[in-house]
């Protein structure tokens, strides 16, 4: 249940903004609603193509959010109403036949009805040069978002996801991938009829102390301590296979850590069912048990396995199981749930690190997602929902989202988040129990 605001001033502004949006949208929809063409005796063959608008896109997206949050008892500091404004730019330019330049940036400002919630951050996501050296060889240099993995809710082979997210306006894994920082790298890739292979070299560009997941989140910070804190190398080969089976193999090494291996496999089982598996393995330190600060290093596997089924009406259902051998066992997690005092602070720090790395806290999770574009046959309506469930304490995080395409350039969306579980569970102990957001997006 939504709480009422404790700061009448901002709350009033937000309410005014919502009222304005509520007034403006129907007006906008009405403006778009031309009288039907000969509705009583419609002849389908009399309908003609309508001229498309010219492709004058500049690559800018503007977002305006109003959010209300329901906080756990004792967690309230008055910031239960938030306003959020976003400028999101992404574009690539061709310099000549062989050279391209890319730039991607997200500027985000959050204002709450308590100063503690106020935050402004610019995220320089990508800035790179791409050179086509030969018809099948490419070299890229700069900051690049190199994303890997076929799974939807957890990507153990997406090595560069760690610490790359600077602002979390949505918990949707797709939104986290979209908004994260790229890593500065030099990358060579060969793509030909046999498949592709690529090698990325990532230099160390920061020596900031990031222990305890402390990062420089000043407005103009480049966040290099998030993405380029250690030297690393990534190799990936993706041989061309048949129509049904697709596989790739990857290796990653980072200074100070043992090399990691990984693979992605997907299989088209039928015209409506895709099965997928993502695996990584290597020696690494497990999460510590309660009362310990370190744990033994061993070989651990991480797996995301599942499938996506498309229903006859277009609803796409995805179910995945996530596993990380280095995460907490049920016994270890139950021990952590009972800690107090300094142990609770250690738990909080460990959980923050897990969240920043986009790792798993316990060994087993279930993840389900339903997505229905043009839901119920309504062209303007997209619906989606996902749930992530901790298999040990049965707590869950869920998010529902609906988007209405008001016009070719304007969307209005509503999003609801809900944490379910008792106070000592992973998701039930979250400071935010639920949140409601309404936001507008303009595409330019």
């Amino acid at each position: 249940m939504m709480r009422t605001s404790t700061s009448p001033g901002l709350s009033l502004r937000l309410r005014r903004a919502l009222l304005l949006a509520a007034w403006a949208l129907p007006a906008h929809v009405a403006a778009q609603t031309a009288p039907p063409v000969d509705a009583p005796a419609l002849d389908p063959l009399a309908l003609q193509i309508q001229p498309a608008e010219a492709d004058a896109r500049i690559g800018l997206r503007m977002e305006a959010w109003a959010q209300g949050v329901d906080l756990r008892d004792g967690a309230s500091n008055g910031d239960d109403m938030l306003g959020r404004a976003v400028l999101d730019f992404r574009r690539e330019w061709r310099i000549n036949e062989a050279l391209r330049f890319g730039f991607s940036d997200r500027m985000e400002a959050v204002e709450g009805n308590a100063d503690a919630a106020d935050r402004q951050r610019n995220a320089l996501r990508e800035l790179y040069l791409n050179w086509q050296a030969t018809p099948s060889w490419y070299v890229d240099a700069g900051r690049i978002n190199l994303r890997q993995g076929v799974a939807l809710g957890y990507n153990p082979t997406d090595w560069l996801r760690e610490n790359a997210v600077v602002m979390r306006s949505s918990q949707n894994p797709a939104a986290l991938r979209e908004n994260r920082l790229g890593a500065v790298m030099l990358r060579a890739q060969a793509v030909d009829t046999r498949g592709s292979a690529q090698l990325a070299l990532i230099p160390q560009l920061s020596d900031e102390d990031t222990s305890g997941s402390r990062f420089d989140d000043q407005f103009w910070s480049l966040g290099l301590e998030r993405t380029n804190r250690h030297r690393a190398a990534l190799f990936r080969v993706s041989p061309r296979t048949g129509e049904r089976v697709v596989a790739d193999f990857t290796a990653f090494t980072r200074a100070g850590d043992a090399p990691q291996l990984g693979s992605n496999l997907s299989y088209t089982a039928s015209d409506s069912l895709i099965l997928q598996m993502e695996w990584s393995g290597g020696r690494r330190a497990a999460l510590p048990a309660a009362g310990e600060t370190n744990s033994a290093t061993d070989w651990f596997n991480r797996i995301a396995i599942g499938g996506a089924w498309t229903s006859p009406v277009g609803l796409v259902l995805t179910l995945e199981h996530h596993y990380a051998g280095d995460a907490l066992s049920e016994t270890e997690w139950n021990a952590w749930r009972g800690v107090q005092g300094s142990g609770a602070r250690a738990l909080g720090e460990m959980r923050r690190g897990v969240t920043e790395r986009q790792d798993l806290l316990v060994r087993h999770y279930w993840f389900g997602r339903a997505a229905w574009d043009r839901a119920f046959g309504v062209e303007q309506l997209d619906l989606s929902a996902f749930v992530r469930r901790n298999a040990w304490d049965h707590s869950s995080m869920m998010q529902l989202e609906g988007t209405w395409h008001v016009s070719d350039r304007l969307d209005v969306s509503a999003m609801v988040n809900r944490m379910i579980g008792n106070d000592s569970s992973e998701f039930g102990s979250s400071p935010v129990r639920s949140a409601l957001a309404v936001y507008l997006r303009w595409f330019m």
């Binding site: 063409v37 492709d55 994303r147 070719d408």
Partner: protein, 265 residues
Amino acid sequence: MSEHLIKRALCAGGLALLTALASPLSLARERTAVEILEAADAVRNPPGSFSVKTQLTEYRQGKQSANSTLLVFAKPNRDSGQYRNLIRFQAPARDAGKLMLRNGMDLWFYDPANRASVRISPQQRLLGQASNGDVMTTRLARDYEVSITGRETVKDGEGAQRDTVRLRLVAQREDVAYARVDYWVDAASDRPVMARYYTAEERLLKTAYFRKYQDAMGAQRPIETVIIDGLDSSWVTVMQTTGHTAREIPDEWLQRDYLPRFAAD
């Protein structure tokens, strides 16, 4: 003797004349359903690799409900003969830059926003009423078993009466958009006139009219298709293809790992 010879010569000549007269008719009768379907495919699809701009305007109750523009790159597969397709979304603005790649059962959707290539199933739709198969270049003769069910005079997409051959198509692959198709092909020109698409349970999904034949890459081809929903005849999509251009499409373009690099116009 000479009379006998004359009679034999007359008989032989008459037989030859009858054979000569009958040959075109017998050849016409011998034209198989597959040949007619292949000829209709050749009318819809230019030869070799090409690109084409496809625009879709969707109507509900006569009111425009959506408008999108795609750039379709098509290249025949050397092994199967079927087309491989790469589609770039140009409009609306929220979808601009997104890509869809299809090689038979292997389909990928690429979103430049998160640089993610997501594998999708052949049944997954990205285009509203028009199926992926409607906008992609396909050779029906490669995917369907076909038979002739008769000759019919039907009204075409521009209101003219056409003498057509009616074909019955039954899918031979599970990744095609429609389990069964009734297909009317102009008896004189092999031009596709209309089609009805059905589910495996014989439920009518859509009716399509192929119209506005114009010169495109060396032949008269339909540049518009009107797609009418099988249940709701007021749900209509008009699909227009323009700018047919023969072009070399490297095999490198037609694989998942090339999608982030694709920049052709």
